[in-house]
């Protein structure tokens, strides 16, 4: 019969008419991120970081810039002092290799995703911003962080975040 295929197809569209929409009205509603989401705002703990630059070495694009100096405190012998720790997120592709390479659990991926800015230089995250930022680490390559719910004000201390 001519038109049978069209009727069959229309039956499918009709069925979909009564289904709940799958879209999310973004600025008002937000889809929850998964714990392993590799997102913006890297989380960095200065007291755990030794300045070994493993992250900078494993970055495929060389977006992390680290400058170290002698640790000013003479009682600490197993780490460098950090002068510069810049992450150029404008070039970063969020592959997560830096986080995987960090042997001291000092660097984590973030959980945010709204990273639009007006200029390129403002995409470079400097050491002071990293120090001051709220710590909401993602569970990527850090399975022990699985299942932590981040409220607006949560900020994980370095003892809680480390293994």
């Amino acid at each position: 019969m001519y038109g049978e295929g069209i009727l069959k197809g229309m039956a499918v569209t009709l069925k979909h008419l009564f289904k709940k929409p799958v879209t999310v009205q973004y600025p008002e509603e937000r889809a929850p991120m998964f714990p392993r989401f590799r997102g913006y705002e890297f989380v960095w703990y200065e007291d755990r970081c030794t300045g070994c630059a493993s992250c900078a070495k494993y970055c495929p694009l060389g977006t992390i810039r680290i400058e170290t100096e002698t640790e000013p405190d003479p009682n600490v012998g197993d780490r460098y002092g950090l002068k510069v720790f810049d992450i150029d997120t404008g070039r970063c592709m969020f592959c997560g290799l830096c986080v995987e390479a960090c042997p001291y659990d000092a660097l984590f991926m973030g959980t945010g995703f709204e990273r639009a800015t007006y200029t390129r230089p403002s995409m470079v995250v400097h050491i002071d911003e990293l120090r001051a930022a709220k710590k909401k680490p993602s569970a990527y390559a850090r399975p022990h962080l699985h299942g932590i719910n981040f409220e607006d004000e949560t900020s994980l201390s370095s003892e809680e975040a480390g293994r």
Binding site: G5, G9, V22, F34, R36, P60, F94, C95, L97
Partner: protein, 367 residues
């Protein structure tokens, strides 16, 4: 008196919406009939092969995501298989199961994309594409759950996968497996009986088995022509020899066969994912390997059955931390070689559908 006519050369692309990327065709028309075709590509060339020579073996995984951006998991898999062959190691069984499961989910997602865009090219504007994207979204959510990203996954590593499956993965996968067969049926019912679709696809864009073999065509485009060649069966890698599935074969090698074959392949992929979920063994998901790998000098070729055909990586090592040479055999690029023969004699409107039925991804063609 007869009118003297000359063929008209028309430039289609590279910004034409139907060319699925930046692909350009220089076509000579006699009226509406195609006389000659010259494909022009290279607009998306990023030099992945050359970049790979300056990256360590682990870092190259990030480049493979960007080859076929519709199916990054299979690109990852082909690359890590090549490195594993180079080093003479094998991933633990659980890692192999996870890899195969991800590759088959990726195949479903890639075929969904192809079907959506194919029907869109046919004039079914919007509706099928929205349906296929909705279903693909579920798969991308599963990927995000496992590895933290939807497209640029960078999930597979030499000697296994980056991370084990999270606890919330299995229930989500079960929910997905419960609804996807019905959704594939819906997709089939939606248009495959439609008279317009049948008129535009049956016996259009014929590719004979002989021409397909001569052009080194692989993947669904080859199987639609009636050739039983699937690397998962012909040269089983990882754990495919322990799984039960059928390889669907077409008859005529026309557009319709290529479209229906992909629907059937998705059903088989669902079967494979279900088996992987049931047989999933315990144990480690990854070998303990250093981040900087130094494979012994030599060469190796690793290949997988990607959604678009045989995807292979040929690696040459000189014993250092980066590959000396990384050559990529991409299925989309080689499937394009038969495009000229398939297009000649058909009309302008058929050009779009024939090209769409080949399912070519420009990221992989230009590399």
């Amino acid at each position: 008196m007869t009118l003297k006519t000359e063929p008209i050369t028309v430039n289609i692309g590279p910004q034409h919406p139907s060319t699925h990327g930046v692909f350009r065709l220089r076509v000579a028309f006699d009226g509406e009939v195609i006389q000659d075709v010259e494909p022009v590509f290279g607009y998306l060339h990023r030099g992945s092969e050359k970049l790979a020579e300056e990256r360590t073996y682990t870092q190259v995984v990030t480049l493979t995501d960007r080859l076929d951006y519709v199916a990054p998991m299979t690109s990852n898999q082909a690359y890590v298989l090549a490195v594993e062959r180079l080093m003479g190691i094998e991933a633990p069984e659980r890692g192999q199961y996870i890899r195969v499961m991800m590759a088959e989910l990726m195949r479903i997602a890639s075929h969904l994309m192809m079907i959506g865009f194919f029907l869109q090219d046919m004039g079914a504007f919007g509706t099928p594409l929205m349906y296929t994207f909705r279903e693909r979204e579920d798969i991308l959510d599963l990927f995000e759950m496992v590895c933290g990203a939807r497209i640029t996954v960078t999930y597979m590593r030499v000697g296994g996968v980056q991370a084990d499956l999270p606890p919330e993965f299995t229930p989500a996968l079960e929910r997905f497996l419960a609804k996807i067969p019905g959704q594939i049926d819906d997709l089939e019912q939606l248009l495959s009986g439609n008279e317009i679709l049948i008129a535009r696809t049956k016996n259009v864009g014929l590719l004979s088995a002989e021409a397909a073999i001569n052009g080194s065509v692989t993947g669904p485009a080859l199987r639609a022509s009636g050739v039983d060649w699937d690397l998962r069966k012909s040269d089983p890698y990882e754990i495919y020899d322990q799984l039960e599935f059928d390889v669907p074969i077409g008859e005529n090698g026309d557009n319709y066969d290529r479209f229906v074959l992909r629907l059937e392949e998705m059903r088989q992929s669902v079967r494979i994912v279900r088996q992987c979920k049931e047989q999933m063994p315990g144990g480690p998901h990854r070998l303990e390997l250093p981040m900087l790998l130094r494979p012994p000098a030599g060469d190796a070729y690793g290949r997988v059955e990607a959604p678009k055909g045989e995807l292979g990586f040929y690696l040459v090592s000189d014993g250092s931390i980066a590959p000396y040479r990384c050559a990529i055999r991409s299925p989309s690029f080689i499937n394009l070689t038969v495009l000229r023969d398939m297009l000649i004699g058909w009309k302008l409107a058929d050009m779009v559908t024939i090209f769409g039925s080949l399912d070519v991804n420009m990221g992989e063609v230009d590399r």
